[in-house]
Amino acid sequence: MQHVIVGAGPAGVVAAETLRKGDRAADIVLIGDEPEPPYSRMAIPYVLEGMIEQSGTYLRKAQGHYEDLGIQYRQGRAEALAAADGTLTLEGGEAVSYDRLLIATGATPLSPPVPGLDLPGVHNCWTLADCREIAALLGDDANVVLIGAGFIGCIIMEALAKRCGTLSVVEMEDRMVSRMMDATAGGMLERWCAAKDIRVLTSARVTAIEAAKGAGGDKAVVLDSGERLDAHLVVLAVGVAPNIGFLEGSGIRTDHGVLVNEHLESSAAGVFAAGDVAQGLDFSTGEYSVHAIQPTATEHGRIAALNMLGRRAHYKGSLNMNVLATVGLVSSSFGSWEGVAGGDSGVAVDEDAFKYLRLEFEGDHLVGALGLGLTDHVGVIRGLIQNRTALAEWKEKLLENPHRVMEAYVAHSQT
């Protein structure tokens, strides 16, 4: 059996390892287009911060890990797929045939529609190559402008703030991390950043980046208000889109990403997809969504591989969830945190202590949550949601005091 995996990020690597665990004899080829050992892009901020070396981002640390497992890791970029005859064409024309294929090509950062993105010192923060470029421009005198205060923007913010002179953040929406934070949490986050000397401009649009040599840098970020922010370095974090370009003409059904069923199989038999590139079942909504997060990538990778091995493994859907620290303030969000029609919410907020917890219920089930400043036992929120635990009398207790969520969990698991 010839298993081919395109894309050597977390989804691809977990899939390759799962395949090996389940089949000692199969040929497993892992193809990646980045000039590095397989790594985790989500560890990049910690390289920028100086906490780890680039090698600290590598997905597996043991020397010879892939060879030892008989996983053939090789460089290459997939350019086209002929699903009908089971061939993948790489850049340069080489054809690779497969019995089972996993598409794990991840996503690519989007660009804001403004002129000046090609100026030197304007970078995404997505690959180790980007990381090296950004690191070279950071320093105590560097003025940095970050465009985008979404999930990834906020994570990068911490690393940039530690390694630059001034940091300004421009966000088009009316609050930070609008997709995982309500107005209360967003407001608290903004106050927190201001106290750390980070200037966050919300409801602000960048109209251009212009070359402009001066004391504050060699370019200026121009805003719709007319304000100009001088910068040595501009970092872009305005969202990502799945890497499905090479599937054009393959006949594989795509929407936002590669559409996959509960076995993570695409519309072409034998072709699977996992991670940031896959549009799979959403546990909360029952719809098909791209959840571009690490836990989904590794779960997808494992379950896709089980199905590639012929064990019909069912996936119950990924829970959209996030945890991040914005210059030290930890926030997390789970599932339907905005609540559902006819549901109830339990809220505890302490503005001064930067603590916030909002639980959302449907009947006596927890369906979503949002937290700020919480670090203990947060995982049970996931457990309660994905178990669809009937909370019975504990629901009332949680409406009264959401912070008892771990107790509610222990009470249910131990009786």
Partner: protein, 159 residues
């Protein structure tokens, strides 16, 4: 034969010796807030329940870790965090559906039970044998594991 922590809540008196022993040995402080085992007090029922990581088979924490900082101790079966490799991203804290990995803001790393390398301090400290370290196949953890199996955030593969 691998062993695991066997917890019998009915024997727990809530003396918190386990939490103190754990935080002392692992974090160098007598501070229940830094303990990897936690005793929950259900006042209304007069019930105390010690609770910690079951070293579950799915090892959600280990699978989700982006930098290989959680590994399996082949001897004890524990999933162990390496402080040297952990970057403090907290992904494992939301991946574990049992809430048994916590972020420690003072070190910037996460902490979870590692069975103290095969000689758990909590079990030694417990004066009533509410926590014991015994052969894995007859522990009461089975009950919790069964419940855990329902969590099933992932797959239900045919055996």
């Amino acid at each position: 034969m691998q062993k695991s922590l066997h917890i019998d809540p009915d024997k727990c008196t809530g003396c918190l010796q386990c939490e103190l022993a754990c935080s002392h040995v692992n974090e160098g402080v007598f501070n229940p807030a830094k303990s990897r085992i936690k005793v929950f007090n259900f006042h209304d029922q007069g019930r105390m329940v010690p609770y910690t990581c079951t070293q579950c088979d799915e090892a959600w924490c280990m699978q989700a870790c982006p930098v290989d900082a959680i590994t399996l101790d082949a001897e004890t079966g524990a999933k162990v965090v390496s402080d040297a490799l952990c970057v403090g991203c907290k992904v494992c804290t939301i991946a574990c559906p049992f809430g048994t990995v916590n972020y420690n803001a003072s070190t910037g790393k996460v902490i979870k039970c590692d069975l103290c390398g095969g000689d758990p301090e909590c079990a030694k400290a417990c004066p009533t044998a509410a926590i014991t370290y015994v052969d894995a196949n007859w522990t009461g953890l089975d009950r919790m594991r069964q419940w855990a199996a329902k969590t099933d955030a992932g797959a239900q593969a045919e055996a």
